[in-house]
């Protein structure tokens, strides 16, 4: 039996089951160690039988329109394996990441948006409540090492729900501020839409959530995975599933 569990979440209609299957396929191709892959969803139709599909309701103890994707945090302490990860569906793994997955994670580890200017975009605007320099698209932790974050979240939920529109913002304002988060080193991740529409490093994000309500970004063309120049590579990841 594997000692690695990788989770993803899919709800609504923004992404189809092919996003789940290809995320799994990409991980299979670029991770040499066996792992168990779980998708929490509201619709398991079309998801490969090699993937364990579970009800997204298991991750929804709170009914909220705030703290977008808070469900990810509920994965902590839930049937944990020795090594645990979650990955967003708009992420493309394109180089070997065995080391990234199997190395020790003595604290829960998040992405730092190296492609953005921290001082100008995030630090300068901190007081206005608009900053966010952490990203939860690819997260890893070893068994038991992230309990502190789940405990804090449950204990402070009422205030968190009132204050933060997204999980990433909550993490940045509360836990990055107090130096509680571990961050992946530079050179692992890239952002397709912010770094010249190329696949750099080992894992590329196609995240467009920063466009929400951002008037300055309206004229900048952004691509989802299926419409990007990496679409063929991405499609090949579902071969054999």
């Amino acid at each position: 039996m594997s000692n690695i569990k990788i989770n993803c979440l899919k709800w609504g209609t923004l992404y189809g089951p092919e996003y789940v299957n290809r995320t799994y396929g990409g991980l299979k191709k670029h991770c040499k160690e066996p792992f168990h892959f779980v998708c929490y969803t509201d619709n398991s139709e079309g998801i490969s039988s090699k993937i364990e599909a579970r009800d997204i309701k298991e991750l929804r103890p709170y009914n909220t329109k705030m703290v977008f994707t808070y469900e990810k945090l509920i994965l902590i302490d839930k049937d944990e394996y020795e090594k645990n990860l979650w990955i967003d569906l708009d992420v493309l793994v394109h180089k070997d990441i065995t080391d990234i997955i199997t190395r020790p994670h003595n604290n829960i580890t998040f992405i730092w948006n190296y492609w953005n200017d921290y001082e100008r975009l995030s630090l300068f605007n901190f007081g206005r409540g608009v900053s966010c320099h952490t990203n939860s698209s690819f997260v890893a932790w070893d068994k038991g090492t992230a309990s502190w974050l789940l405990d804090y979240t449950h204990k402070n939920w009422k205030k968190i729900e009132w204050t933060y529109k997204s999980l990433d913002k909550y993490l940045f304002y509360q836990h990055f501020r107090k130096n509680k988060l571990k961050l992946w080193e530079d050179g692992i991740f890239s952002n397709y839409n912010k770094q010249g529409y190329q696949l750099k490093n080992k894992i590329t994000l196609f995240n467009t959530s920063h466009l929400y309500n951002n008037k300055n970004m309206k004229d900048v063309k952004h691509y989802e995975l299926h419409e990007s120049s990496a679409a063929d590579k991405w499609k090949s990841y579902s071969n054999g599933l």
Binding site: F126, R128, G129, K159, W162, T163, K165
Partner: protein, 137 residues
């Protein structure tokens, strides 16, 4: 704004929350009032006269009288603290505002204010600022 200082002067000491204006802070200090200037903005971390903490999430001791200068940006202080409040909030609906203030009643309700001493609204630069002086004791 002058009204704000008329309210503040009734107190010997005060906690001021989320106020980026040093002009306001210094004016209160000149009135011989002891001020704890509490701000969650990490840009103030190394400033000696600022307590750089998030009063909502960190362990922060507040004076009996609290002036909250940007109520639209935080969880309501009146839900966490019992005392006298001078509250200002606006309906600008800036992207970073989690709690836009659209009326005096909203400030009163959010902060469990039981007795309003005074309140007023001012329209500045196409949006409304709401001010309440009251207590939840």
């Amino acid at each position: 704004m002058e009204k704000l200082f008329e309210w503040v002067i009734n107190h010997d000491e005060i906690s001021v929350l989320c106020c980026p204006s040093f002009k306001v802070i210094n004016t209160i200090k000149k009135l011989d009032i002891k001020v704890d200037n509490i701000n969650y903005d990490i840009n103030y971390r190394d400033m000696p006269n600022v307590i750089c903490n998030d009063f909502v999430f960190d362990n922060v001791r507040l004076k009996e009288c609290v002036l909250h200068y940007n109520c639209e940006k935080t969880y309501p202080v009146g839900k966490m603290h019992t005392g006298i409040f001078i509250l200002r909030g606006d309906d600008k609906e800036h992207n970073g505002d989690c709690n836009p203030i659209r009326s005096i009643d909203k400030l009163v309700e959010d902060n469990n204010i039981k007795k309003v001493f005074e309140s007023f609204t001012a329209r500045i630069k196409n949006y409304n600022h709401y001010y309440v002086y009251g207590t939840n004791i």
